[in-house]
């Protein structure tokens, strides 16, 4: 068997990703006027927690059915986003876009939950959550799907690494000044009732959009989506006043950190899929 300490190390790495994603969500200050929540951070947080629980039973949190619902919703959410990306940019959105990898990550997790649940032996049937350690080692039904997902995950991870080292992704949070209205008209950004934008801050007031995360995925797109985004220029990271945040916060909120988390999760997921085939 794959040694338990190795699974613990990968689980620890996933907890670190979860902590980083949580820190990003907090740093984005969604409770403040104009705060930002990023759907991928919510997805990373949930997936990392689920993966840690799968790798190390004592970190298990929700039952399979709960994770199944969560990942099903994430799959639906990112499927919509990928479809929109493809409509806008064509098939290159699958390689250059941000949502396609997250769609694959979510689908892989959903597959793992469903395939493992279906294959659960009577000995493990009473356990909460997925578990791939010890005697109750997880095996996956439809292993060809596992192989397919693992190949795609590895492909995206390698691509992300190349793009990250090619400095496609910034290591600091950049300011996004005055975006022309038509340019962001197709944004799926939503405001939270009570936020600065929903109160109708003037177009000259730099603020940030509140973006629906996983919770939004539950409800799916709602009427009026993007409406607030059409009104206002935004800054990144929830910083008010139109100035980019600096220092650690800037780094924490940088695209590179998200992509780094995505790489770690992609490799860890491929690892999990292969050891469970």
């Amino acid at each position: 068997m794959t040694p338990a300490w190795l699974l613990d190390i990968v689980a620890a790495a996933m907890l670190a990703v979860a902590a980083l994603s949580a820190a990003r969500l907090v740093a984005a200050r969604p409770w403040r006027r104009g705060g930002v929540i990023i759907d991928t951070d919510v997805a990373h947080l949930l997936m990392a927690i689920a993966m840690a629980g799968t790798l190390t039973p004592r970190l298990s949190t929700l039952p399979d059915s709960g994770w199944g619902v969560i990942f099903g919703l994430l799959v639906a959410w990112f499927a919509v986003r990928v479809t929109r990306d493809i409509r806008r940019s064509g098939l290159r959105a699958l390689a250059g876009g941000h949502c396609a990898p997250h769609f694959v990550h979510s689908a892989s997790m959903l597959y793992m939950v469903l395939a493992m649940t279906a294959a659960a032996s009577p000995a493990t049937a009473g356990m909460d959550g997925m578990d791939m350690s010890g005697a109750s080692a997880m095996t996956l039904r439809y292993p060809t799907l596992a192989l397919l997902f693992a190949f795609i995950l590895v492909g995206y991870s390698i691509w992300d690494l190349d793009q990250l080292s090619g400095r496609r992704y910034a290591f600091g949070a950049a300011r996004v000044p005055g975006i022309p209205l038509p340019a962001i008209a197709d944004s799926a950004a939503l405001t939270v009732p009570g936020s600065a934008m929903s109160r109708g801050s003037g177009p000259t007031t730099p603020t940030t959009g509140y973006v629906r995360g996983a919770a939004g995925a539950v409800a799916g797109p709602v009427p009026g989506e993007g409406a607030m985004g059409e009104r206002l220029p935004r800054t990144w990271g929830g910083h008010r006043g139109g100035h980019p945040p600096g220092g650690n916060r800037a780094f924490l909120l940088s695209p590179a950190v998200t992509v780094g988390c995505r790489i770690a999760m992609g490799v860890a997921m491929a690892f999990m899929l292969f050891i469970a085939i």
């Binding site: 292993p143 975006i179 990144w236």
Partner: protein, 321 residues
């Protein structure tokens, strides 16, 4: 980060190249390097499989010594014994090295050291882990992965080395680092050796190919096992004819890079199709689904190699020159 947070234009502004078609400006050699990186990463992850932490792994290493001269076999046995006594730490180190090679090639600043290290590691594994894939023992079978998947990693690392030998645009990626003549020679040696291995006595026996295909079906999912068994029954008793047909195909591919651009493309297309068929049917996708695979086998690497020789549409001299 999702563009949800910013709107598309904002994202484009922030991420710089986000709005540009990322792949459009990507160097074809870099794309192939990333393919090699993915293969190493897969190798590394596969090496972490539970099977590799059992005694079956050192037994597999020991088995690769069979048929080799003692000077070659002794280090293999030594390595297998070492792995047997320190299975968990050694296998973890092996897996981690391969993982790091993949990550290193994918990271632009470390591509050179990672490629160089991959050549050294490949040669070590080819000897100590694969026993030169049975080349010296007369059991090498191209359908089964000869001359060894891992040596193809080394070959690709050399051909995809990030250097340009000539200021002139080369006819294909593989010629950029080593030059046209050396690239042609390497291709010729590889595919002629495959043609040779296809018709050695062990592989032209009546049931040789069908036995390989039947073995490949073991432990595979139904659809893949069905494919393997179907193919095995198709070539049952036709070992010699199948071996000769394969050898002829390999020979045609070997000389393909000396042909004019159009003909070369057709031959390289044949190489890709044949490698894909060998990978899916002959190698059962590297037997990953049956567990116990240490790599995806030679099929994907042969495809990657053929792509490295794919003639550029513009620029460069005719291939035969």
């Amino acid at each position: 980060m999702s563009d949800l947070a910013l709107g598309r234009a904002a994202l484009q502004g922030q991420l710089g190249a986000e709005g540009r078609p990322a792949a459009a400006s990507l160097d074809p050699r870099r794309v192939l390097q990333l393919g090699l990186a993915a293969a190493w990463l897969l190798d590394g992850v596969l090496q972490f499989q539970p099977f590799m932490y059992t005694k079956a792994f050192p037994q597999m290493l020991t088995a690769s010594a069979a048929g080799n001269p003692s000077v070659i076999a002794r280090p293999i046995i030594w390595n297998a014994n070492l792995a047997s006594h320190h299975l968990v730490p050694l296998n973890t180190i092996f897996a981690t090295i391969q993982l790091l090679l993949g990550l290193g090639i994918a990271l632009r600043p470390t591509v050179r050291p990672a490629l160089a290290a991959s050549v050294v590691w490949s040669l070590a594994v080819w000897w100590l882990g694969e026993g030169f894939a049975g080349i010296l023992g007369g059991t090498a079978n191209p359908v089964d992965g000869a001359p060894g998947a891992v040596i193809l990693y080394a070959l690709l690392a050399v051909l995809l080395w990030p250097a340009d030998r000539s200021a002139q645009p080369p006819p294909y990626v593989a010629a950029r680092a080593v030059g046209v003549r050396a690239a042609q020679a390497l291709w010729l040696v590889l595919w002629l050796s495959l043609a040779f291995f296809a018709v050695i006595p062990a592989n032209r026996a009546q049931g040789a190919l069908s036995d390989v295909l039947t073995d490949a079906a073991a432990g595979e999912p139904g659809w893949l096992a069905g494919l393997d068994k179907g193919a095995a029954s198709l070539v049952a008793g036709q070992g010699l004819a199948a071996a000769v047909a394969l050898a002829v195909a390999f020979f045609v591919i070997a000389v393909g890079v000396f042909l004019p651009r159009r003909a070369a493309r057709a031959v390289l297309g044949l190489a890709i199709v044949l490698a894909a068929l060998i990978w899916v049917i002959g190698q059962a996708l590297g037997m990953i689904l049956a567990t116990g695979a240490t790599d995806p086998n030679s099929g994907p690497l042969l495809i990657l190699l053929a792509l490295a020789y794919w003639p550029a549409s513009t620029g460069g001299p005719e291939l035969a020159r």
